[in-house]
């Protein structure tokens, strides 16, 4: 490690295990005799909502910092959908490394970012589905981290994985190794013809702009809240199988499935969280959950 301290920021969604990735990374580093720290973004954990997890690793002495990481050396994006939603490279140091789980090509992803960074891409979802049988890529992405950087060694993960996953440790370890093999590493150029990206910036009130008692008076303001950002899958309808019973719309916890003029049902993707309950409840299996790009 060339720097004294290495700081990693993990981007995932609630339920995808970004915090576990960070924990395993720290445990592996400590196993190697380094000093490390892992912590979540101390927020309300909601399944599907964007979340952060952090690591600090150093070799010479204990880590003392106890605050969020705003200038990371490494950014790992566990959920491919987050790239268009969040400025994942915010604060990423020049010379830093961006690691993305995506089925997209390296060339394509390069167009999304502009900075003096290394880009590592792996289709962790396919590996996890093949080796683990589920689309949970938190351990698989550790392989990409190992390949793209030298913060931890593959073997140091064995023990923490066993402790955490017991009988399932072996397949997780395999997924990790497979990801390390499949990770493609390239460079991002700071300039060039890039795809423009823009992100919503929340405007926060000053103390004296708050109403008395901080009462919220704009009724129904949750309508503006795009819970659709939380999904990693969305439902697709096969109308030929649908008997128009409406069960899907009754069970949708978000209440976002509406009947169309032709009698068939569709979800409002602005609100759909991708929970899959509609697909599970449909009698005739007319709904299929499809991964987000």
């Amino acid at each position: 490690m060339k720097n004294d301290i290495i700081e990693i920021r993990w981007h995932g969604r609630g339920g995808q295990g970004a915090v576990t990735s960070a924990e395993l990374t720290a445990l592996a580093a400590i196993h190697e005799g380094k000093y490390a720290q892992a912590f979540p973004s101390f927020g309300p954990e909601r399944r599907g909502a964007p979340v952060l997890a952090f690591n600090r690793i150093r070799t010479d002495r204990a880590v003392r910092e106890r605050s969020g990481i705003i200038k990371p050396d490494i950014v790992v994006v566990i959920d491919p959908g987050l790239v268009s939603l969040i400025n994942v490279t915010d604060g990423l140091k020049p010379g830093g490394t961006l690691i993305v789980n995506s089925a997209r090509s390296v060339e394509d992803l390069q167009q999304d970012f502009s900075g003096d960074w290394k880009l590592a891409v792996v289709d962790a979802a396919s590996i996890a589905k093949k080796l683990l049988g589920v689309n949970i890529v938190n351990t698989t992405m550790l392989g990409a981290l190992i390949k793209a950087t030298e913060v931890i060694d593959c073997d140091s993960l064995r023990e923490p994985l066993e402790e955490r996953f017991g009988a399932r440790a072996k397949s997780n370890f395999e997924a990790c190794k497979q990801a390390a093999e499949n990770t493609v590493i390239s460079e991002i150029t700071p300039s060039g013809d890039k795809r423009p990206r823009s992100f919503a910036v929340e405007k926060l009130p000053k103390w004296n702009e708050l109403p008395v008692g901080c009462v919220v008076t704009d009724v129904g303001n949750t309508k503006a809240f795009c819970t659709g950002n939380w999904k990693s899958q969305h439902p697709e309808w096969l109308d030929s199988k649908c008997i128009k019973c409406g069960i899907c719309s009754i069970f949708c916890p978000e209440g976002c499935i509406k009947q169309q003029k032709d009698g068939f049902f569709r979800a409002d993707l602005f609100y759909c969280k991708g929970c899959g309950i509609c697909a599970r409840e449909c009698w005739t299996q007319a709904i299929k959950m499809v991964e987000e790009a």
Binding site: L204, G213, V216, V219
Partner: protein, 391 residues
Amino acid sequence: MTSKRVGLESSLGIAQAVKLANVDVIAAYPITPQTHIVEGLAEMVANGELDAEYIPVESEHSAMSACLGASAVGARTFTATAGQGLILMHEVVTVASALRLPVVMAIANRALSGQLSIWGDHSDVMMARDAGWIHIFVENGQQAFDQTLCAFRIAEHKDVMLPVAVDVDGFHATHVIESFYLLDQKTVNEFLPPYVHPTPLDPDNPVTMGCFAMPNYYFETRKALDMALRNSKKVILETWEKFGALTGRHYLPVEKYKTENCDTLLVTMGSFSENAMMAVDRMQESGKKVGLVRLRLWRPFPTEELVAALSGAKNVIVLDRAISLGGPGPVCSEIKAALYPLEKKPHVVGIIGGLGGRDISPENFIALVELGLEKIKTGHTGEIIMFGVRE
């Protein structure tokens, strides 16, 4: 206008004030030494004298919760408690201020358990000190009556919208029958405008109160509350001025008693102040330059007024009727902090006394001042000094 002088127990004087304020909702759980206040009110509601909703709840926690709901829909709301009752209520006490709900509460100041004591001291109030309420200390029944009426006007003022506690020493004030000047309904109606919540709970115009605050919001909500509490002093002063003009009874955040040309000032809060006044009279008669400063407004803390009252003295002796176990006396430490920026500071000595209802008579106060001066003379002001404890 002011009626003729009547005899009443102080607790019932408070109940009279609450009745004159024409409250809409009272939710309370009886606890000594507060019980007579809510008993009095319950009786008034039961016999039709007072048209209010009396909610007999199963605990103080529920009492305050019911008050919050009532105040949030725009009802004038009162409760009373003491000692462990205030502690049990505590979880919701902070919610009242955060939601800016102008509940008025009489606290019959009582010592805290383990060793169960129903008698008075300020330990219960001190544990509620940081909860965002306005705290007004009174010394006798008349003041309790007056300040209960003022409390509603202050609490509900549109520039304040904060809960107010009227702190009445258990037994030494609550249970004494004394003489009162009450006010007639017309005068009170003129003094006390109706309570209007700007954004009440209303099914036709729904609002959210007590929402979630992430780290990127919470700090601002606290500053907003803190500023509201600090700025409430303006309305408190206006209210007391108006009340004084109306009744001839004048109140100030810090009240001085015979302090001119005094080297030594005693500081007290609550019902023992009148004993202290008698001690000051006697000491001055025998040529001692000892005066009294009484702290009426505990929150918002009247730093400026205190500094103005104390900065000219050589010696300041502060009586704390509460013990901050393992730390300095709460009133004394705040006074020390207020005086610290002065270039020429008085010597300040804190004395803890009167815990769990133990008396401090006028004679005792003379001895207390002598003890304080002795400690100053011998340079022992940093000690934790207790008065009247068996050593």
